[in-house]
Symmetry: C2
Subunit: 348 residues, 2 copies
Amino acid sequence: MEIDDLIAQPGEWLSGEGPESDIVISTRLRLARNIKGFPFVSRATREHKSKILAHITGRLRKSALGKQLVFFNLHEAEAVDRLFLVERHLISKEHANSEGERSVAFEPAEVRSIMINEEDHLRIQVLKSGFATTEAYEEVSGLDDLIESQLDYAFSPRYGYLTACPTNAGTGMRVSIMFHLPALVMTRQIEKVFQAVSKIHLAVRGLFGEGTQASGDFYQISNQVTLGVSENEILDKVRKVVPKIIEYERNIRETISHESKKTIEDRVWRALGTLQSARSIQSEETLNLLSQVRLGVNMKLISNLPIQTVNELFIQSQPAHIQKLEGKILEEEERDIARAAFLRKRLN
Amino acid sequence: MEIDDLIAQPGEWLSGEGPESDIVISTRLRLARNIKGFPFVSRATREHKSKILAHITGRLRKSALGKQLVFFNLHEAEAVDRLFLVERHLISKEHANSEGERSVAFEPAEVRSIMINEEDHLRIQVLKSGFATTEAYEEVSGLDDLIESQLDYAFSPRYGYLTACPTNAGTGMRVSIMFHLPALVMTRQIEKVFQAVSKIHLAVRGLFGEGTQASGDFYQISNQVTLGVSENEILDKVRKVVPKIIEYERNIRETISHESKKTIEDRVWRALGTLQSARSIQSEETLNLLSQVRLGVNMKLISNLPIQTVNELFIQSQPAHIQKLEGKILEEEERDIARAAFLRKRLN
C-alpha cells in the first residue's frame, strides 16, 4: 500500500457512525511507551534514533499485526506527505517536523497507528468514530499487549511507564475527545465549558491537538494528568464530563431550532451555497463553512448530504490533501482555487 | 388590465437589449408640463387637484393613445400598490406619498407613462433600455405633441414651459441615464466620475432618483439645468459624457479581467451562490449581490443566466413586488424569507 492510496479512502473514524457522533467526532486514546536500554528520544543521537527505529520496526513486523501495518519513514518523506499524515491525524505536527529517523506504522483503516521516535519511542494510538472510550480503550490495550509481547517497555513499579516528559509518566495514557460544538460557539457559551473543564484538570485544544487553534468549532478535551491515577480513573473522569458537554450543546441546538430556526436555516444554507460556488477558498474559511453545514445536516435543516461526506471534507480540504488530490505541489493561491474546485465537485 | 398583471411581465426597458446595455441600464426622458388656467399642484386645493385630474384624464382618454393607456388612481390605491409602481419606475416616491387626487397613466409595455398631479400637472416619461437618447427623445416628443393636441400647456415665450419649480422651467426636460458601474465602485474610482460629472452641472443620483441612495452600484446621471438651453443642447451634453463613463467602466472591467480574473470570478460566483442558497435576505443585500452577478454575466464569467433575468430580479426582489408576488401584505421578516424563496426559484 502506498500513501497515495489513502486519499480516496478516508479513515474509519470519519464514518460518523459512532455513538453521539452528531457532537463527538472521535475518541482518541494514545499510550506513551519507551523501550528499555535506549535513551529517550530527546537525548538520543542520530545513531540512537536509527537503532531504536530499526529495533522497533523489526519487532513490529514480526508481530501478529506485522502484515497488516503500513510502515512509513518520515525522515525519507516529502514535506507534503508528512503534512498529509498530520491532516489525517495519523501523526502529530511535532512528529512531522522533527529531526532524525522516525516513522509511523498504521493499519489501512487508520484506526490503530504507532508513531516511532516521536517524543517517546512509541506513541500507540487508537482513533474511533464518536464517543467510544470503552471500545477505544479495549483496542489500545490489546495493541499495547501485542507490542509488549515483542518489546521490553521501560517501566518502574513506582512511577509506572517511564516517559520522556514526566507529565506523561504513570499510565502514559491520554484520552482525547474531539467535539463539534457550533451551537455553543454561536451562542458564546463555549467559554463556560472551558472554565468547567479546566477546573477538573482537563485540557482544551484545537483540531490538530496540542498548541493548535480551534477551527471549525472543533475542540479536543483531554486529560492532563497521567501519573498517580489509573487508566480507569482517567476514563471515568472523561466519561462523566463528556455527556454533560453533549447535553449542553444538544440543548442549545434544540433551543435555536425553535427560537431562531429561520436564522440558523439561512446561515447553514448560505454556508453550503458558498462552498458550492466559490472559485477560490482558504482552508480556514472552508473549515468554518463546513462547520455550519455539519450543524445543518445534524439539525436536519439540510438533507441529501451524508454526514460522512461532510466529515471527510474537513480532512480532504486541508492543504496537503488538496495537493495530493491534484498530484502536485501547489502555491497557496493555486491551492485555494483547487480546493474550491474540489468542494464544488463533491457538494454539487 | 389590472395592476397585478404587471408582475409577471416586466417593463420593456429591462430587456437588456438596448445599446451599451452592459453598462447603461436605461435612458429616461421626462417632460414637466402644466395646464393653462389651473394653479400649480403645490398651490392647488383638493378641489383644484380633483378638477385638474378629471380634465387631463378626460382629454387623454379621448386622444389617439386613450385606448392603450392604463389609468391608475394613486389616491384610491393601497400603499403596497403605490410602492409597487415606484419600484417599477412608473411613478416617483413623491408621487406615491403625496396627498390629494393624483394618477398615473401608462402603456402596458411601460415605455411611455404620464404622472398626473405630481409636482407638475403632467410629468411625461419615456423609459428605454440602454443608451438611447435619440429614440427616447423622439418618443417623448411624439407623446408631448399628442398630449398638446388635447391640452393647453402653460407656456411663456420668454421662459418656455412654466413649471411649479423654476429649476424645471424652459424645456421642462430631464434626461436621466441609469448606469451600472460595479467595476468603478470596486476599484474606488467612482468618486472621480462624480467629480467630473458635477463640474459640468450634471447631477448624480441613486436607483430611485432624487434623494435616493446608490444601491447595487447603480447611478443615475441627469441634467440639472432646463432653462436657457435647448433640448438638443441638453441631449448633446449627456451624449458627450455618457460614452466617457462607459469607456471608463469598460476599461476597468478589461483590466480586472486580466489582472484579477480569479478574484473577480470567485466574487461573482459567491454572490450567485448566496442568492441561490439564502433562506432569508434583505432588499439591500439582494441588490448588492445581484450587482456582482450582473457584472459576472456581462464579463462572461457566468453563463446560462440571461441578463434580462438579472435585470428583472433587481425590480422584482423589491419589497412591494415580493408582497404582490405572494399576494399578501408581509412583515419585513416574512418578506426576507419570501424574497429568498423567490430568488432560489428564479436562479436555480
